[in-house]
Amino acid sequence: MKQILHIFAKDARHQWLEILLSLAVTVGLVFACPSRWRTGAAGFVSFSPIGLVSNLPDLLVYIVPLSWWLLISPVIHEEKLVGDRQFWITRPYDWKKLLAAKVLFLIAFLYVPLLLAQCAMLAEAGFSPFPSFRGLLRDSLSLTCLLVLPLVVLATVTRNFARMTLAVLGAAVCFIAILLLALNAPPDRIATPHENQIAFFLALGLCAAVVVVQYARRNTKVSWVLVASLIVLVGFLALGGAPDNAQMDRDYPHGQRGMATAQFAYQQTAATAPSAFVTQRRDRVGISIPVLVSGEPDGTVTIPDFLQVTLQAPGGAGWTSVWQTAAMDKFLPGERVANAQFTMPRAAYDDLKEKPLNVQVTFALTQAHAEKVERLTLGQKDLAVPGVGICSPVKGFSDRLDEIGLVACRSPLRPELTLVNSAWSSVACSSASTSPDDRVQTAEWIGALEKESTEFGIVPVSITPVNFSNQFAMESNGPGKARHLCPGTPITFTKYTLTGRTQSTIWINGFQLPRLDAGQITVMNQD
């Protein structure tokens, strides 16, 4: 322990300027961030290029990791691991203690200041930091995996800041290339929640392996091989094949006991006919099949995550899709028709389009149930919503600047999956003639079932606009007329929690692939 503290003290003495810079940026973020929620609407329209320049808090969210880069590089390179001329390698340094000293340095000057800053930001936003402590630690883990550890890894395999900068740029180029390839890849690439977790821990393990190999053996060649493996792993996860059925069966088991989800049935009417459309990729054709969704148990919501389609023609010809992202709404109790959309290769479409087909569509479903309902009344002031945070009415998002056009919620970390219901007023709130008949029901989902980090996990307060549907009344000519949220309107927040995951299949016999309308280009949500 004495050696650890000795090295730590030496590093702290030498890196005081970098420490000061990092602390200054972090403190700056604490002071600047509250302006995001104080300025109301301006806060959440932030991550645009213009916002970056004009909005200091947004800029600081990016500068904080940069200051860490300036902190991590010199502290690791103080006892650099690459080369054969370092002063420390022939001194009685114990590599485990050296590594521990570096970890201690990062805890003391990166994690602790960040944690304190996050607590201060939460307190400033009106939340007690203690209930969010676990989430903050989870965010720190994400931050470690996504930012800190990769920077440490690149510092351990380079000999100085300039080399590390080149390595960071190289890694950035690799990831941008992977991202671009992934964006242009067919919509076959999906990752199940478990796959994401496995990838996360695998990446974490590989990064940790590089650090340990470098400190224990200073074997830079092996470490670079591990770094390359990490990039390949990320590339594979981004571009590799979709999960197989066994993987999906594990993540979305059939016939979950005690789980009754919505029922899906093929629904063909004059109004709801299957359609085919051209996608952005010319070698693929999009197919939309109308399905009737019903039987959702009260108090639950079913979310189709993925779907898989099998088309079987007489005589053995056929085609089976990989698991594709299902770009469908969340289904609450009640009947409704939705479109199950998927894409297929153009060649398979041409081969099967004239044949009667037996179709099997399997949905991978997530079901959540309503756990808590908060019924509140909209006013001019902030609403404290348990499970969500603090929701503020925002004026100026309609044709009248004095009317409420939006509700923005700020939450500690991310809000949980919540359905927000309210009612628009078709007439101005100041009008004396408002009546229940002028009300139009509206709803919007906010949050997510999975806990996700907010903005690199640095800012612990998220601002979520509740973009209610039907804000504009459609008129036959001219622009739609804006509706308003009037003070005194009931607003309900229903928090949902995960029930389970399962699969549901529909069969359609004698299905004919719809004719392709070549003029129609539909961009599918490929997630």
Binding site: K2, H6, E78, R85, Q86, I89, Y93, D94
Partner: protein, 310 residues
């Protein structure tokens, strides 16, 4: 005899280049061993393998009874290493560096530290990056001697230093010599000749010989034979004769295995018409030049016949 350093077939390759080739070396405790050789002979690579900075491609080394491949951490409390091209914590002051290192060594001697600081006239408050090359080496020496290491390894320690600094360092080293083993590399023979007890010669990665310096000096003689009349050299000269030159009535060569009576008898048999035979001791520099110029094969055969390590 206890050994401070022992290597067995120690080899290191960098790609296709063989930097050190199957070196067997033994350094007895208490010796001042000088590893000499031209630039690029493999001296630094050899030392870096001993210090576990490089891993051997083949063979093994033992340093103070520890496998060099496992030399780390506490083992370095008994070893002092100074290299001409070693990086230093430049931002530290000389005093700061000594103070920083102090807590790493349980046996650090503050009195000796003070003595070394005085002896080397070290400016304690000046940053290492502002020191001259000579001062930096002195600071490195002080930081490696103050804990009384059992073994001091020096890689070209005097390279590029002015004679005054060099003498100061040698003096500092020799004062510590009785209690330690010194292993140093150099390509300057003159600087090590005065104080080394053992010497090894490395050429193109191979250790041509390794022995005590007095034995080596005793073994080599510059022979000048003056003949009565011009004569043809015998076709087959002994392998221990290096750099044979003959002009008119004079034959000159270097005898690499001189043994007083045996050699004189041998020479008398070879040159029965000799008017005069002179056998002059050689300075170390001349010995090495003779070895280097006469080629490895010649020396190897000499070594083989006389049991010299090759």
């Amino acid at each position: 005899m206890k050994l401070a350093i022992r290597t067995e077939k120690l080899s290191r390759r960098f790609g296709k280049t063989v930097a050190v080739d199957r070196v067997d070396l033994e350094v007895p405790e208490g010796a001042i061993y000088a590893l000499v050789g031209a630039n690029g002979a493999g001296k630094t690579t050899m030392i870096k393998m001993l210090m576990n900075i490089f891993r051997p491609s083949d063979g093994r080394a033992e340093v103070l009874g520890v496998d060099a491949a496992h030399l780390a951490g506490n083992a370095f409390t008994r070893i002092g290493y100074v290299s001409e091209n070693q990086e230093m914590p430049e931002w530290m002051t000389t005093g700061g560096m000594l103070s920083y290192y102090r807590s790493f060594y349980p046996q650090w001697d503050p009195v000796l530290e003070e003595q070394l600081v005085r002896q080397f006239d070290l400016p304690l408050k000046r940053k290492l990056k502002h020191l001259s090359r000579g001062m930096r080496m002195k600071a490195a020496f002080a930081s490696s001697l103050a804990y009384r290491p059992s073994l001091i390894v020096l890689d070209e320690p005097f390279s590029g230093l002015d004679p005054l600094v060099r003498d100061e360092l040698i003096e500092g080293l020799l004062e510590r010599a009785p209690e330690t083993t010194v292993f140093l590399s150099s390509h300057d023979l003159a600087e090590i000749e005065s104080f080394s007890s053992h010497i090894g010669f490395l050429e193109e990665g191979r250790l041509l010989f390794s022995e005590e310096l007095p034995v080596l000096s005793e073994r080599f003689r510059e022979v000048t034979v003056t003949l009565e009349r011009p004569s043809v050299l015998p076709e087959k000269c002994p392998a221990s004769w290096l750099q044979i030159e003959a002009a008119e009535c004079v034959v000159r060569f270097v005898h690499s295995n001189y043994k007083h009576e045996i050699t004189e008898r041998e020479l008398a048999e070879f040159f029965p018409s000799a008017r005069n035979i002179s056998l002059d001791p050689m300075p170390l520099r001349s010995i090495f030049l003779a070895i280097a110029k006469s080629g490895r094969s010649h020396v190897q055969s000499t070594a083989n016949t006389k049991g010299i390590k090759a």
